[in-house]
């Protein structure tokens, strides 16, 4: 398992990542989380327009042998969800930081990003 993570992302303790692009942010789960869960078979996506709260539950992700809540790394309003995951949930395993993204939100509290980790801090948190 790779212990290096993309430098342009911020990470939460619950293994979500966020990529910020102006007022927009894209959310997904990390390669570490995807690997721990194993073969992902279903992602319960949030509804468009839903208001996410930082560290609040916004969905569920299921693998063959496990199930986990999804925690929002930032607060915001959902503007887009990854429809491709409905038919191909395996994208989360195959490309967690790219095609396996889960939702896009309009950031409501940009200051919250300070509560997240950078790649090296996250890497350390998952080591060992």
């Amino acid at each position: 398992m790779s212990s290096t993570y993309p430098d342009d992302l911020r990470y939460s303790k619950e293994h979500e990542w966020v990529r910020v692009d102006g007022a927009q942010a894209t959310i997904g789960i990390t390669s570490f989380a995807a690997s721990e869960l194993g073969d992902i078979v279903f992602v319960e996506l949030p509804e468009l327009g839903a208001q996410l709260q930082q560290f609040g539950v916004f969905g569920v992700i299921e693998s063959v042998k496990a199930v986990s809540d999804l925690y929002a790394p930032v607060s915001g309003e959902v503007t887009d969800v990854n429809e491709a995951l409905r038919d191909r949930p395996e994208l989360v395993n195959d490309d967690p930081f790219g095609e396996g993204w889960i939702a896009r939100v309009t950031l409501t509290e940009p200051g919250e990003l300070d509560a997240l980790m950078d790649a090296s801090a996250y890497g350390e948190s998952t080591a060992g």
Partner: protein
């Protein structure tokens, strides 16, 4: 121990390996204060003594020679080939198919069962089975609550009283309120669930309407209209059906049922004083992740062979624990196998023959009692294979006929005080013209 393989030498060798002098030492971890103080189970029996004991007890049952008793459990032919299939030790002495490579027999039969239940009900997806029709119905009502995020359910009083009682118990768990929709039981009434009464109970808090087809009195309900009023209120229709009737009556999927449940006992399962039976449950594909119970799916192995596995397990208690859709663990696999073998044995034509003969004999018995001036139909609505007859002095006559080995149906007044002198008479393909003639004669003589 009656079934022990161990000789004294075996015991010695195992004790030596473990390094203890006696088996008692292996129980030293039980605190003295709570060690068993007594154990007064009777002494062991040999097989011949055991057989005698069970024959003694079974001999106390006086199974009626002729019975018109149904009310949720029905005396049908169990084809010999069905008993043969479920007697196969490889089915009977296996457990839940945790290791699919050595459980393809059980898994494929469940996949076939799921398919047959979908075909009968006209639904997309069926579970691998539940304990019985009542628990399947209760689980369906709670499933509707999850799907609609509402916390009340409405149940027609024409649903089997024991099913309603079980449903109330289940609902009391999460604090779901069970409302009743009164059936039309007045003098000259239809014996059905009035659509307006259902509509007036359904509001924005009600998750589902539970109705039974044919209902507890055998009446054929206006299921399409009931589905429409449920849907108009944003609620679901949970249809509890009798499986052999589906050879003749409209498939629930066609009239808009959202969840279908059934007591599967009529499909090749002996009466056996109430169990084990099997609960059927079917639903729409969109609801599958809220469905309780095991599901089997088709897949493949690396060599390109088709195989079957337990699937969508993230719904279940062993993974989701306190967030599971239900605590249900196993299904009723062997009873589901009996139903699968039964539906295979009778096929579409045989199931239709069973249904048609059953319903013809119900009309026959009602007509014969009316013609003899012994009773009248209590309700006006068309009925399937069970009919409520008002018979003067029913209680006394019911007892008198019992003495002659004839069981004249189920007394309705115990559960419905307004239905005094009313007996619910059930017929199946095993009801002969002679049975009906003898019932009429005996009732007449018991005047």
């Amino acid at each position: 121990m009656a079934y022990s393989p161990h000789t004294e030498a075996d015991h010695r060798r195992m004790l030596d390996a473990v390094g203890v002098a006696s088996i008692d030492e292996l129980f030293d971890d039980i605190p003295d204060a709570v060690r068993a103080d007594r154990f007064e189970v009777p002494p062991p029996l040999t097989e011949q003594q055991l057989r005698a004991e069970l024959l003694r007890i079974a001999g106390h049952n006086a199974v009626p020679r002729i019975s018109f008793l149904g009310a949720g459990a029905y005396r049908h032919l169990v084809p010999a080939v069905v008993s043969e299939v479920i007697g196969r030790a490889e089915f009977a002495t296996a457990y839940t198919p945790y290791q699919p490579e050595v459980s393809q027999g059980t898994l494929q039969t469940i996949y076939e069962f799921q398919t047959m239940v979908c075909e009968l009900t006209g639904m997309d997806v069926a579970s691998a089975s539940h304990y019985d029709g009542a628990t399947a119905t209760a689980e369906a009502a709670l499933m509707a609550c999850r799907l609609t995020r509402r916390n009340r359910v409405a149940v027609s009083t024409a649903v089997h009283p024991q099913v309603r009682r079980g449903l109330r118990t289940y609902c009391s768990g999460p604090g779901v309120e069970a409302l009743e929709v009164p059936a039309d039981l007045v003098e000259g009434g239809s014996g059905l669930t009035p659509v307006e009464a259902a509509a007036s109970v359904l509001d924005e808090d009600v998750a589902c309407l539970v109705a039974q087809q044919p209902n507890f009195f055998g009446g054929v309900e206006p299921m399409r209209e009931l589905a429409d009023v449920a849907h108009a209120a944003g609620a679901q229709l949970v249809a509890l059906v009798e499986p052999t009737s589906l050879a003749v009556l409209e498939a629930p999927g066609s009239y808009g049922a959202d969840i279908v449940t059934a007591e599967g006992q009529p499909l090749g399962i002996p009466l056996s004083f109430g169990g084990p039976y099997v609960g059927l449950m079917a639903a729409r594909m969109a609801s599958v992740r809220q469905m309780p119970g095991r599901l089997v799916g088709a897949t493949r192995d690396a060599a390109g062979r088709r195989g079957y596995v337990l699937t969508l397990q993230a719904r279940e208690q062993h993974i989701r624990r306190e967030k599971a859709a239900s605590n249900i663990c196993t299904n009723q696999a062997l009873c589901a196998l009996a139903a699968t073998a039964y539906l295979t044995a009778v096929g579409p034509a045989g199931l239709r023959e069973v249904a048609e003969l059953s319903l013809t004999q119900a009309r026959h018995v009602a007509a014969a009692l009316e013609a003899a001036g012994l009773g009248e139909r209590r309700f006006s609505a068309p009925y399937f294979a069970e009919v409520a007859m008002r018979i003067p002095q029913a209680k006394r006559r019911h007892a008198a006929l019992r003495e002659r080995g004839i069981l004249a149906g189920h007394p309705l007044w115990s559960e419905y005080p307004e239905l005094d002198d009313t007996l619910l008479l059930a017929t199946t393909e095993l009801t002969t013209d002679e049975h009906i003639a003898e019932l009429v004669t005996a009732l007449d003589q018991a005047r």
